[in-house]
Structures are given as C-alpha cells and as structure tokens.
C-alpha cells in the first residue's frame, strides 16, 4: 500500500495549498481552412473547432472527478489567425475573432488563443490586417486572446511592429475603457514566442505542431511555499533541493492528467509546461515564495537572485517528471494575478525597473502590469522594446502585457476579477523614447544567433 504520509501529503497539497492543474489546452490546426469570403471562412473555423474540441470540457471534468484534482481551465489554441485570414480578401478580421468567440462559448472553454500574428522579420499579407483588427476584436469578444510575436533571437527585432503595438495597446485600452481596459489583459507582445504554450493570453498553435495536440500547464506556488516553510532554517542549497522535489511531484500530476486526457480525446499529448502560475488567492503566490526564502518584501534587493534559483530548481525538478517538457516553463510573475506582488507594489517596494530585472531570469515578462491611462504609445513601445531585447539577447521568451488604464493614475487600481485579479497602477518614466521608436526598421539579430 502507498505510504499513509504520502497520501495525506497529496490531499493537503490539494485542499490547503492550492495544488491544481492550471490548464489543459487543446491545440487545433486551422491550416487546411481557406476561403476568399470571410463569412465562409468564419463558418469553417467555427465548425472545425467545435467538432475537434467537442468533448474537451467534459473529458477534463471527468478526469477532475476521478483523480480528485482540480483542473481549473480548459482552453483551446489555434493556428495564428493572420495566416488563415490572409486567404480572404477582407480588410478586417474581426469576424474571425467573433467566430473563435462563438466556438469558445459552444465548447465551454474559458479562453481561446490564436488571434495572433508572427511578424518578427516583417509583415506578410494578413499580418497588418490582423494587428489593426485587434482593438475592435478584443472589444466585441469575451474569450478571445491575442498575441503578436515582434522579435526572435534568430530574426532580430521588428521595431515597426513594436511602434505599431504601442498604438494598438492604447487603442485596445480605449475601446474597452468601460470594462477596466480589459482588452489589454488579453493581448500579449512576444519575443521568441513558443509554439506549444498552454497558458493564456499567449497561447497559439504553432506552425510546426501536429493537427491537434494537448498541452498541460501545472501550478503550485502554494505547495512550494509551504514546503519551504516546513523546512525551517536551512541553507539555500537545501531550499533549492526542496523546490526540485516539490516541482517533481507537481509535474507528475500534470503528466498523469495530460496522458489520460490525450488518451480519452484521441489527441496526441504535446508537453507539460513546468510553470509556477500564481492566482490572486492568498497562499497561491510566487512573490510569497521569494519572501519565504528570506525577503522582507518581494522587490527588495535579493529578489532577482532568489527568483533565478527558484526558476532553475523548478525546471530541474520537473524535467524528469515528464516525458516532454515545453511551453514557457518557469515561474510567472504577473502582477495583478499574484496576491504577494500586488502587496509588494502597494508597499512601494516592487518597481517597474525591478520587475524588468526579474524577467531576465524567469518567464515570462512584464505581465499584467497596469500603467497610467495617459502613458503615450511611444512610452509603451519603449517598454516593449526593452523587454523584448532581454528575450532576444538571452535566447528566451519574454513578453509584455500592459494595461494603460484609461482615466486612472498612480495610486488607483483596476479590478479585473477572477484569475486576472486586480492591478495597482505602477509609475513608468514619462520621458519620451519617440525618436528611437519612430526610426522604424529592424534591429539586427544578435551575434549569438549565428550558431550554425
């Protein structure tokens, strides 16, 4: 019989420490769909997604009951819509976003990702149309997520796209200002975007992926924090060891759920994303892990060092627990979705600059950060450019998901509710990078991209 202590440990992790499977995300290729009529294409997209993902939610729920482990989200990602939309003669892809939204409602998933474009080296037909459609698309849909990859280590940085995204983010905030500028919470700007990310808002079904695939994202900041607390006084090497062991257990759970779901749905199992994804619930925070290791408040000196150790230990523990690891795999630091991060910002300890430094050693970037509503498009583009540079030079994924909260300023906060949480408005330098951003063109790929 299994050790009683192990059994009680598992139950405690689920009951008290918020251990859960954060998401099972089904990737669906739309590459076989084409039509020059956008209405016809919309119907084809809706039909294919609802057919392929018909049983996704029901299967997820049955596994949840059987194993007794909560699976918080069931989601869908699709081929970047810019590629599919390019077959039409339309000059807006809002209708395609609406088709995705309808498919999400029919299948019962809570988000569908892939209203996306990959423009790291330049714009192909469809890319600019898609990007220009984002502000309206995110205002008229509920569950559609959008992402734009503007740079990669191999291709360099598309500064034109970054300039454009500054304006698009502002416009999206404006279009959804009656709803806390919520549209921006569903829009990510990436460097080195990954093809098999199960997490929103940045999930899309990459072009090298199979017809359909199932990816799993695990979660468990609370479990890691509790394990460190129980260990009491010990060296940092021992803390790393505890994190590794905990990450192993969490990931095994993801592997089990993923393989069961893929078997029952008849869909190949893709990857487990080894991530520590926080929620706004107390006891489910990455910031509190850092504090548990020994910081007075997250954001003080020492934060980056501990985060680097945490991120590394999570990967080392998780990698043996799963047959295929992928996605973003690392600790997430979304400000509004992490109770400890919110507290650290409110205490005046965690600044934008420190967040930027933290993103150099973990996934995924300046995430769910609210800035004053009057922040200019150029400043947002500058912020994106800095974050993207960190990703390009360090050969890793980075991203920006900022919310210029219209009508609000430092001291206010925006309430998104649910898993998206609430974001205190953070100050950002108002000095202008406009001349740099408006130069346009492409920053060449760094020297270490020349590996062959």
């Amino acid at each position: 019989m299994i050790n009683t202590g192990d059994i009680l440990e598992t139950i405690k992790m689920i009951e008290e420490e918020h251990l859960d499977i954060r998401t099972i995300t089904m990737g669906i290729s739309l590459r076989d769909l084409a039509s020059d009529d956008i209405n016809v294409l919309s119907d084809k997209i809706y039909d294919k997604i609802t057919k392929r993902a018909e049983k996704l939610v029901a299967t997820g729920e049955s596994i949840e009951h059987e194993l007794g482990i909560p699976i918080i989200n069931k989601r869908i990602s699709v081929t970047p819509i810019a590629m599919i939309g390019a077959t039409t003669n339309a000059n807006s892809y809002v209708k395609l976003a609406q088709a995705l939204d309808r498919a999400a409602a029919t299948t019962g998933v809570n988000f569908i990702g892939g209203f996306s474009a990959l423009v790291q080296k330049g714009f192909a037909k469809g890319d600019e149309i898609l990007i220009n459609s984002i502000p309206e698309a995110l205002a008229v849909t509920n569950n559609v997520c959008s992402s734009v990859n503007v740079a990669s280590t191999k291709a360099g940085v598309n500064l034109d796209a970054i300039a454009k995204m500054g304006q698009i983010i502002k416009q999206t905030a404006e279009n959804t200002k009656d709803n806390q500028s919520m549209g921006c919470a569903k829009l990510v700007v990436f460097a080195n975007a990954v093809d098999d990310n199960p997490f929103m808002a940045g999930a899309f079904h990459g072009i090298g992926e199979p017809e359909t695939v199932l990816n799993v994202g695990v979660s468990g900041p609370g479990v890691v924090q509790a394990a460190i607390r129980r260990a009491g006084d010990c060296s940092i090497g021992e803390v790393a060891e505890i994190i590794k062991k905990t990450a192993f257990k969490i990931t095994r759970m993801g592997q089990l759920v993923g393989s069961l779901a893929s078997e029952r749905l008849g869909v190949p199992f893709g990857i487990v994303d080894l991530s520590l994804a926080p929620t706004p619930a107390v006891g489910d925070s990455v910031a509190r892990i850092l504090e548990e290791v020994g910081l007075e408040t997250c954001g003080c000196c020492g934060t980056t060092a501990i985060l680097a150790m945490l991120n590394d230990a999570v990967k080392k523990g998780g990698v043996m627990a799963s047959s295929n690891v992928g996605g973003l795999s690392g600790a997430f630091i979304p400000v509004s979705e992490d109770e400890g991060m919110i507290a650290a910002v409110n205490a005046g300890v965690l600044s934008m600059e420190k967040l930027e430094a933290m993103t150099a050693v973990c996934s995924v970037g300046i995430d769910m950060v609210a800035v004053p509503g009057d922040t200019t498009a150029e400043v947002i583009s500058g912020l994106i450019a800095d974050e993207i540079a960190i990703g390009v030079v360090n050969n890793k994924t980075t991203a920006v998901r900022v919310i210029p909260a219209i009508g609000k300023t430092v001291g206010d906060s925006v309430e998104f509710g649910g898993l998206l949480g609430s974001a205190p408005i953070m100050p950002v330098s108002t000095h202008s990078p406009a001349k740099f951003i408006n130069r346009g063109g492409r920053i060449p790929a760094p020297i270490h991209s020349l590996k062959n």
């Binding site: 019989m1 299994i2 050790n3 009683t4 192990d6 059994i7 009680l8 598992t10 139950i11 049955s62 009951h65 059987e66 194993l67 007794g68 482990i69 257990k249 095994r252 759970m253 592997q255 089990l256």
Partner: protein
Amino acid sequence: MRAVITVVGKDRTGIIAKISETLCKYDVNIQDIAQNVMEELFAMVMLVDISKCNIDFSNLVESLDKDGEQMGLKVHCMHEDIFNAMHRI
C-alpha cells in the same frame, strides 16, 4: 482499478461501519486499511478495489462525501493513480 479513501476528523463510534456499509452497497471491496487515533483525531486510509463498483466513480465520491458530512468528518476518495504518479518513480 483501485482507489484510496481517506477519512480525517474527530473520533466517534461507527466511522468504519458507516463507510464500509456504503462501500458494500456499491460492490467496492476493501483491500487494506490503516487507521490510527491520535488524541481525539481519527485518521484512516483505505485501499479499495473499484473494478466491480456498480455506480459511477463520481457518484461513489459524492456518496462517501455525504457520509463524511453526516459524521462531521472529511472523506476523500481519489483514484490510486494520482498517488502512484506523485510518489513513485
């Protein structure tokens, strides 16, 4: 197919009787029981065979949950796989 049932809470009479009555009703065979009472706290772990279970697994979980509620105890019933996955390499 096997499941693990855990019962934790304040000790009282008839806990095992109640749980095993439910299991018997649904054709679930008990393979192993480990139980101890520390001070007033009752903790039991049961390994059961559910391959002949005559109701849906989720209904079994619900029904055990109700038993627990009636006795003021926390009852969990989970598939064995999850523990094997987490604690065995």
